[in-house]
């Protein structure tokens, strides 16, 4: 395929959809002398037409195909796969949109529409002339998954993946898996025993040969790419050899040091040589080196010689294909909610502390005693929304589980003769069997007061809860023995650091941002990284488990498919041209470029194809597959050079979000001036000043850059870069004798399609008023560019 490739062009009438407004016959006649074959079709997408195209390609040995019809989003895939059957590489197919972006929007201007269709097709032809075949590369992923967090979410996902046959590395920061769920005596709405249902699953994790359980450890570094992540994990010094430890507990019995137990929320003690709770997994003791006095009693006592007080931390490395983040939640620090007196008044406990008080294995052995005072309690008040739904002092969101766990604790207390008052703003029970559970709590005798609690006033052993009872329009002062506050659930401390390491965004409340909040809720914004449970937002165990199953499935899906590496990557034209200045490294929003031995090296997997690096290179050493400099210029020139339109405006549009918006404007038959000619690009950051000058040199009177908003479309940060560049370009245009008003930049959301009519019309009117760019400037620009 050297020299002049043989090009075939088909122009569709789409019944009357195109043919009624664009003189298709005239267009075909005009281009016939320029190509090997040109034909009009009534319906190009019909089966006979497609078969005809295939036969013609074979008969005439056509090397490029240009199809002028509806939006490529409609039938491109059909045409491309059919043409592949007759040996035409899909990169050699050019689609020209003359329906949504031409005939449907210029119904009142058939002459303009016909000229525009002809221009757009010429752009397609010229671009096709310099196209090259491209092959998408494929890569296999490492069939192993890292799961961060060993709560019910991480446990569920691990078991599911191991069952499927994938190798799982489950990393947990504490000495045992189990998370928060193992701290609860009962769970709503079934009131079944939390430990009874979770313990067997924890045991399965430790027994499953496919699960590599790494406890008392933290992920410290993640590098590589989706499908091939390299992970460093820091193993905290445990002081006990897990292979030797038989879990007999001798070390703990002889240990003289006592510190507050994390498992019991600090309400009871544990030893410095400890196991967090009896059914811990792994059943291995841990030396808490922060508390340990190194007296050596445990070393002497250990019958297995398993203890080493000089143990040091170690870093291990893992290679995995996918990562699931399941780091769960913690409660907002109740000390930061001074209104509720936590830390000041011993009669105030958090809901998590109450879980431990209610547990037969808790700090009070299940007796209804406040461990902070040692006194029995007979009358308890719950304060809901203690910091949740509070934009001023706490978190603005609803923590979603507090209503239900307060109802659960209330039932457990009521069953044992305790009087329970629940101070609430709204009781929210969205979930199966939850409203019934609320009703059951009322039947058992809980007393509900609608109104947020404003203060706590200690009075002797008791404490007075003050709030309005809005139903009675009266202020209530309720003296109780114990106050249980329900602070907001928030992401854990280390989540933010992990999110940065994994390069996934979080929302304003710190929760992990989903790829799509409705339609892709357990995928993160990055390929190969998934999340489940509370790290995605407050939720109950049922939903957490469902999300864990879903995240496991997403990981399986991701790892089993060979990853297609789209042929849209930036590449170095010639290593000789590159002097390793690193400008491209700075520009790349994906961190896909590095300088190796003084030359830019582009990671094909990381490169998203946004094109932002190409204008950054001062040597012009970079180009992009499928959208080469040569192709882009050929298309610009093809569209403009021979056009006879009075006003010519070239609009570069971001090809996912904005292009869709422009198509929608077509679908709605919004009329706008036929001067607008569109070229889709991955992002406006792909454009060099040179391209814009080129457009002006060959006939454009105005150039528009319509970019997607930062958080829409696949290229995110590239859209920010493009805005900065457009600002610079505007000034530089003036230096080349082109008024800066001739360059328009704006961002368009998909729902903005209604506004496009106004955007296009406004710019057209302005350019038309000012008149075309003068020939002298054009001639000068051509001279400069050649």
């Amino acid at each position: 395929m050297s020299g002049k490739p043989k090009i075939g062009v088909w122009v569709c009438e789409c019944g009357g959809n195109i043919g009624d407004y664009v003189d298709v016959q005239r267009v075909v006649e005009a281009i016939r002398p320029e190509v090997a074959y040109a034909r009009r079709e009534r319906y190009l997408c019909s089966k006979p037409s497609i078969e005809n195209i295939k036969r013609t390609v074979q008969r005439l040995g056509l090397e490029r195909v240009v199809l002028a019809c509806c939006t490529p989003k409609m039938h491109r895939e059909t045409f491309a796969s059919n043409l592949e059957e007759v040996g035409l590489n899909r990169a050699l197919l050019e689609m020209v949109n003359i329906r949504e972006q031409c005939s449907w929007v210029h119904k009142d201007d058939p002459e303009g529409a016909t000229q525009k269709a002809l221009d757009l097709i010429r752009g397609g032809i010229e671009r096709a002339r310099v196209s090259k075949p491209l092959e998408a590369k494929r890569a296999k992923s490492i069939p192993e998954v890292l799961i961060i967090g060993g709560g019910v979410a991480g446990i569920t996902a691990s078991l599911r993946l191991a069952e499927y046959g994938l190798r799982v590395h489950l990393v947990e920061k504490r000495p045992s898996i189990g998370g928060h769920m193992i701290q609860y005596p009962k769970v709503f709405p079934t009131l079944d025993c939390s430990q009874c249902i979770l313990t067997p699953k924890m045991a399965s994790v430790s027994n499953n040969p496919n699960i590599d359980l790494i406890t008392y450890a933290e992920v410290v570094e993640v590098s590589g790419v989706p499908g091939e992540f390299h992970v460093k994990v820091r193993l905290k010094p445990r002081g006990v050899n897990p292979d030797k430890c038989i879990g007999c507990g001798t070390c703990s019995r002889v240990c003289p040091v006592e510190v507050p137990s994390e498992y019991n929320m600090g309400l009871g003690p544990r030893k410095a040589a400890y196991i967090p709770f009896p059914q811990a997994v792994p059943s291995v003791y841990t030396i808490d080196f922060e508390a340990c006095t190194r007296c050596g009693k445990c070393v002497e006592a250990c019958p297995r010689d398993a203890i080493n007080l000089d143990d040091e931390e170690r870093i291990i490395e893992l290679d995995v294909g996918a990562i699931i983040l399941a780091t769960g939640f913690e409660l907002y620090d109740a000390n930061d909610l001074p209104r509720y007196g936590y830390g000041r008044y011993p009669q105030v406990v958090t809901s998590l502390e109450m879980e431990r008080i209610l547990d037969v294995n808790g700090p009070t052995g299940g007796q209804l005693i406040n461990p902070k005072t040692g006194k029995e309690f007979k009358r308890v008040a719950y304060i809901l929304c203690a910091g949740s739904r509070d934009t001023e002092n706490g978190k603005p969101y609803c923590s979603r589980v507090c209503c239900l766990y307060a109802l659960k604790q209330a039932q457990l207390l009521l069953d044992r003769g305790v009087e329970v008052w629940i101070h609430y703003i709204d009781i929210r029970t969205p979930g199966r069997r939850y409203e019934e559970f609320y009703l059951e709590t009322q039947r058992k005798g809980a007393l509900f007061v609608k109104g947020k609690v404003v203060e706590l006033i200690p009075e002797g052993d008791r404490i007075i809860v003050r709030g309005e009872d809005m139903m009675l329009n009266r202020i209530v002062e309720n003296p109780v023995d114990l106050v249980v506050i329900c602070p907001p659930v928030i992401v854990t401390d280390e989540t933010h650091k992990l999110a940065e390491m994994l390069r996934i965004p979080v929302d304003e409340d710190g929760f992990i941002l989903e790829r799509h909040p409705k339609l892709d809720p357990v995928a993160t914004k990055r390929d190969g990284v998934f999340a489940c449970g509370m790290v995605l937002g407050p939720k109950d165990i049922q939903t957490t488990t469902a999300e864990a199953e879903a995240a496991a499935m997403k990981a399986v899906n991701f790892l089993s498919a060979e990853r297609l590496i789209e042929p849209n990557k930036a590449y170095l034209i010639d290593p000789e041209l590159c002097d390793g200045c690193g400008e491209c490294v700075e520009a790349c929003p994906e961190a896909a470029i590095s300088i190796v031995d003084g030359k830019a090296v582009i990671n094909e997997v990381l490169c998203s194809g946004c094109g932002a690096c190409i204008p950054a290179c001062p040597k012009g050493a970079l180009d992009q597959q499928g959208l080469t400099e040569e192709q882009l210029k050929a298309q610009i020139r093809g569209i403009l050079e021979r056009s006879e339109a009075d006003v010519k405006i070239l609009a570069f549009v971001e090809r996912e979000v904005v292009y869709t918006a422009v198509d929608l404007a077509g679908l709605a038959r919004l009329e706008y001036p036929s001067s607008i000619r569109i070229i889709p690009l991955p992002s406006m950051s792909r454009l060099k000043l040179e391209h814009i000058l080129y457009a002006f040199a060959y006939g454009a009177d105005g150039v528009m850059l319509l970019e997607a908003p930062e958080h829409e479309g696949p290229y995110g940060k590239a859209h920010v870069i493009s805005e900065e560049r457009a600002d610079d370009y505007r000034w530089e245009l003036e230096d080349h004798g082109v008024d800066s008003f001739r360059l328009w930049y704006s961002r368009v959301y998909v729902p903005d399609w209604r506004k496009l009519k106004k955007v296009f019309t406004t710019f057209h009117d302005m350019i038309a008023d000012e008149g075309p760019l003068d020939d002298e400037t054009r001639a000068q620009l051509r001279e400069e560019l050649d």
Binding site: D390, E392, K452, V454, R466, N473
Partner: protein
């Protein structure tokens, strides 16, 4: 009592919005303001939460004619504690301004105004006070300040 929705005045709602910011629209009726309010301890029928609710619903005449909007002591405790950032004392001030515009001024307020118009002061500066001031080295004050009279008029 049945609420008569015919009483709702949408112009009043627009007026309220333009009179101050829209923060009061985010009130979700939690009762923090009422339970924090020191005025309630003295006058149990005063309830800022209900006033905000009624204003929010657009019961113009009921709200503006209510003497309760004049009872807020502007202590700002509710504002400090409101979880939704509603500045209730400012709502009260706006309601008072609108009430005056509509001619709803409670009799005690009228009396205060009359006093100010007539004498420029709520409490007269008598010889005793003047002497006390002089003893403490405070400057002399106008017995009946004209500018206050003009303002109050």
């Amino acid at each position: 009592m049945i609420v008569d929705v015919e009483e709702i005045d949408s112009r009043f709602l627009r007026r309220l919005k333009s009179e101050f910011d829209e923060s009061y629209l985010s009130c979700f009726q939690c009762g923090v303001c009422s339970a924090s309010c020191p005025v309630i301890e003295i006058e149990g029928r005063f309830n800022p939460r209900r006033l905000v609710k009624m204003a929010r619903l657009g019961f113009k005449d009921r709200v503006l004619s209510s003497e309760y909007i004049w009872l807020c002591s502007m202590c700002l405790l509710c504002e400090e504690r409101c979880p939704q950032g509603v500045r209730i004392p400012e709502v009260m001030t706006a309601l008072r301004n609108l009430a005056v515009e509509e001619g709803y001024i409670p009799e005690p307020m009228r009396r205060i105004q009359r006093l100010l118009v007539e004498s420029g002061r709520l409490y007269p500066i008598d010889d005793f006070t003047a002497e006390e001031r002089a003893e403490r080295g405070l400057p002399e004050v106008e017995a009946e300040p004209e500018f206050v009279k003009r303002l109050a008029g």
